[in-house]
């Protein structure tokens, strides 16, 4: 009798434990409430709050849809999104960088083809800057809706420039001259942090486009084109040009991160920094009218297009496994509407990919000036770390970190890159 009692108690305990595990997920599914999972990469303020607010507004307007948000930051997002998309319950709506990063999801069949939705609702989709769709289009199909757009440029401290009688450099050698004078004055010429090495990749991407002809870049960056082998001498030169800046960086760049370099610039101790235009919103409050922006100057003898800029959209994609594509699309449309786009710049300083959202009403003079850098550039290039295959990026970043540390020469780095490219292109066939 006793034995039976013990057995039954144990089995009840056991069962209730397992029951407790599985129960939570099903109960929220009310009558016809659709639950969407939304995964983005901003667990930090102010964007976290911006999305929370947006989700609330959307839920109010669509009482039949409930949205569950999850967010992890940058580098972790890159890793986690791959894992969750591979799971059986991927997020329905998720953020993605453009270019190779997004194509990878499309090729693996993880993202829904949105071409029809875009074509059906012209009133909405025509509001978005058409060129921004390119970075989400693979083989003629659109896989992502551009949400924001951003570019990379040199920011400078106008006060330091004025005090030292410096002019905004228009060529690479003038940039070096300026840096030399700032250094002589005892300030940090260029602030930089490469502990998280994606910051290096933005320099490399930009310098590559200045040093290497467009056709060669297209061939080399394409993971499926076996002819692109990164053998153009411009790549080595681009790295050499990058190394010319090294004496003007703050000390020990490999041991400090990007946020630290931004703070250094914010504190007025550095003359120049290489930042994203979206970061104006984070820097302008400290430097005020002393903040200026200029595009990366052309390099003498460079074979690329000098009137170009590294600028790319970030977008929203929908999982191919979603059970509610219509509702998910509804949410994406809401986030990429003109109304939201206008709010977006003001509240989280991200330029919307929707036309006419950067105006005097919601942007500072500098922000309007900055967006013109993108609009006026003849050519835009994607972020390097999302434009090429991850294995090539990896070879580049590990190599350049060691190059900054004096352990590798530009030629050594390119040797590793070529080997990685060979491997990538061999496996793509």
């Amino acid at each position: 009798m006793k034995k039976l009692l013990i057995l039954s108690i144990i089995s009840i305990l056991f069962l209730s434990f397992f029951a407790g595990c599985s129960k939570s997920s099903s109960s929220t599914n009310g009558k016809d409430v659709v639950e969407l999972k939304f995964f983005h990469r901003w667990p930090n303020q102010p964007k976290k709050q911006y999305f929370e607010k947006a989700v609330k507004e959307f839920e109010k307007a669509h009482p039949n849809i409930k949205i569950k948000t999850e967010a992890v930051l940058n580098d972790s997002y890159k890793e986690k999104i791959r894992v969750v998309l591979g799971s059986s319950t991927p997020p329905d709506v998720y953020f993605s960088w453009s270019g190779e990063f997004a194509y990878n999801f499309a090729r693996q069949g993880q993202s829904l083809d949105l071409t029809n939705y875009v074509n059906e609702d012209k009133a909405w989709s025509d509001q978005i800057i058409a060129s921004q769709f390119n970075a989400f289009t693979l083989d003629g199909k659109i896989y992502g809706i551009p949400w924001s757009t951003d570019g990379k440029a040199f920011f400078y401290n106008k006060k330091i420039f004025k005090d030292l009688n410096l002019e905004v450099p228009t060529t690479w050698s003038k940039l070096l001259d300026v840096s030399k004078k700032v250094k002589a004055a005892g300030l940090t010429p260029i602030t930089f942090g490469s502990k998280a090495p994606w910051t290096i990749s933005h320099y490399i991407g930009t310098l590559n486009q200045l040093m290497v002809p467009q056709e060669v870049i297209d061939k080399d960056y394409d993971p499926k084109n076996p002819e692109g082998d990164f053998s153009h001498p411009g790549y080595v030169k681009a790295l050499e040009k990058f190394m010319e800046l090294k004496p003007y960086f703050n000390k020990g760049v490999n041991s400090v991160d990007h946020e630290y370099s931004r703070e250094l610039f914010n504190s007025g101790k550095a003359a120049i920094g290489f930042f994203q235009l979206a970061e104006i919103g984070l820097i302008e409050p400290s430097l005020k009218e002393d903040l200026g922006v200029f595009n990366v100057p052309g390099v003498e003898g460079g074979e690329g297009n000098a009137n170009s800029i590294t600028a790319a959209p970030e977008g929203i994609m929908i999982s191919s496994k979603t059970k509610h594509p219509k509702e998910a699309m509804e949410f994406v449309k809401f986030l990429t509407s003109k109304e939201k786009g206008t709010e977006q710049l003001k509240e989280v300083s991200e330029y919307s990919a929707v036309k006419g959202t950067t105006t005097e009403a919601n942007a500072s003079k500098l922000q309007q000036e900055a967006i013109n850098l993108i609009v006026n550039a003849e050519q835009t290039y994607l972020w390097f770390d999302t434009a090429v295959d991850i294995k090539i990026v990896d070879a580049y970043l590990n190599g350049t970190q060691l190059m900054l540390d004096g352990k590798k020469s530009p030629e050594d780095v390119m040797k590793d890159v070529r080997a990685a490219a060979k491997e990538v292109k061999a496996s793509a066939k």
């Binding site: 986690k80 020990g252 041991s255 991850i390």
Partner: protein
């Protein structure tokens, strides 16, 4: 009553066993099989590649860098944590400073209870080349030529990381030794006193042999810890610059979630498992634990 309940003991340990099997042993076995496949996180199919992942791993120079760094980790941890911890414990248990030893114990033990993430972030400030306290201290002492970007140079990065671990873990090992020393019968020391033995003699002839069992435990903890370390290098350097401070743990992580080579990462995990197994087997043999106390 007794023989009717033959199965009852097993029933009691069943939950524990089931969970162990489900969450520890099953993944280990599964991981072992994964290491023979080539697949990415969201690929539908896995391609069987036999031993290719392992062959590539043994050809990969990063693997040897990581292994070397783990060996440094192990060596330095044994010297500082196990030997250093024992000496610290012996000093704190000495009659001379027994009165204040409570304070020191707390001071040394405090880092153990702080989260590793917090400590690592704290030390990124300590090591900062411009505003860091370490370089500041060296400047104050007139040792400017020793200042450097500790985490940013490939020669010093891994050692700067290892130093943080020593700082954190020595208190834990010390605590274990203190417990062991307190269990030594006082008569032994009294007898030694009568024989006229000095403090150092007593340490080597009584304390060291008496804490042998704890020695085994602490070396096992530090060695397996040294080969499975992940948090410290991941937060402090991310394996960089280049791959110079990569350890097996970060190599596994980067292969799996950075480069999306899940099979390769499984192979790394299998190698780590084999290494830690060998380490503990060797120790079991050397210390012959459990046979005498």
């Amino acid at each position: 009553m007794q023989n009717t309940n033959k199965w009852l003991p097993y029933l009691y340990i069943a939950p524990c066993l089931i969970f162990l099997a489900l969450f520890v042993y099953y993944p280990i076995v599964e991981n072992f099989f994964y290491s023979f496949y080539d697949f990415s996180a969201f690929s539908v199919e896995k391609t069987f590649v036999g031993f290719e992942n392992f062959l590539n791993l043994f050809k990969d120079e990063v693997f040897y860098i990581a292994l070397k760094n783990n060996l440094w980790y192990a060596l330095i941890s044994i010297i500082f944590q196990v030997f250093g911890g024992l000496i610290l414990a012996a000093i704190l248990e000495d009659k001379l400073i027994r009165l204040v030893s409570g304070l020191f114990r707390t001071v040394f033990f405090l880092p153990v209870v702080i989260s590793m993430t917090v400590i690592a972030l704290l030390f990124t400030f300590v090591y900062n080349p411009d505003i860091g306290i370490l370089n500041g201290l060296l400047n104050m002492l007139g040792l400017e030529n020793l200042t450097r970007a500790w985490l940013g140079e490939s020669e010093t990065a891994i050692f700067a990381v290892i130093a943080v671990s020593q700082w954190q873990s020595i208190g834990y090992i010390m605590m274990l030794f203190i417990v062991a020393i307190q269990n030594i019968p006082q008569e032994l020391y009294e007898a030694a006193d009568i024989d006229g033995a000095g403090k150092i003699r007593k340490f080597f002839s009584i304390t060291v042999p008496q804490v042998k069992e704890m020695f085994f435990v602490t070396t096992l903890i530090t060695l397996t810890g040294a080969f499975t370390v992940f948090n410290e290098p991941y937060i402090l350097t991310g394996g960089g610059p280049g791959n110079s401070s990569e350890v097996l743990g970060t190599l596994l992580y980067h292969s799996a979630f950075g480069k999306d080579q899940m099979g390769y990462a499984s192979a790394v995990a299998t190698v780590i498992l084999i290494i830690t197994l060998i380490v503990s087997l060797v120790q079991l043999k050397v210390f012959k634990t459990g046979k005498d106390v």
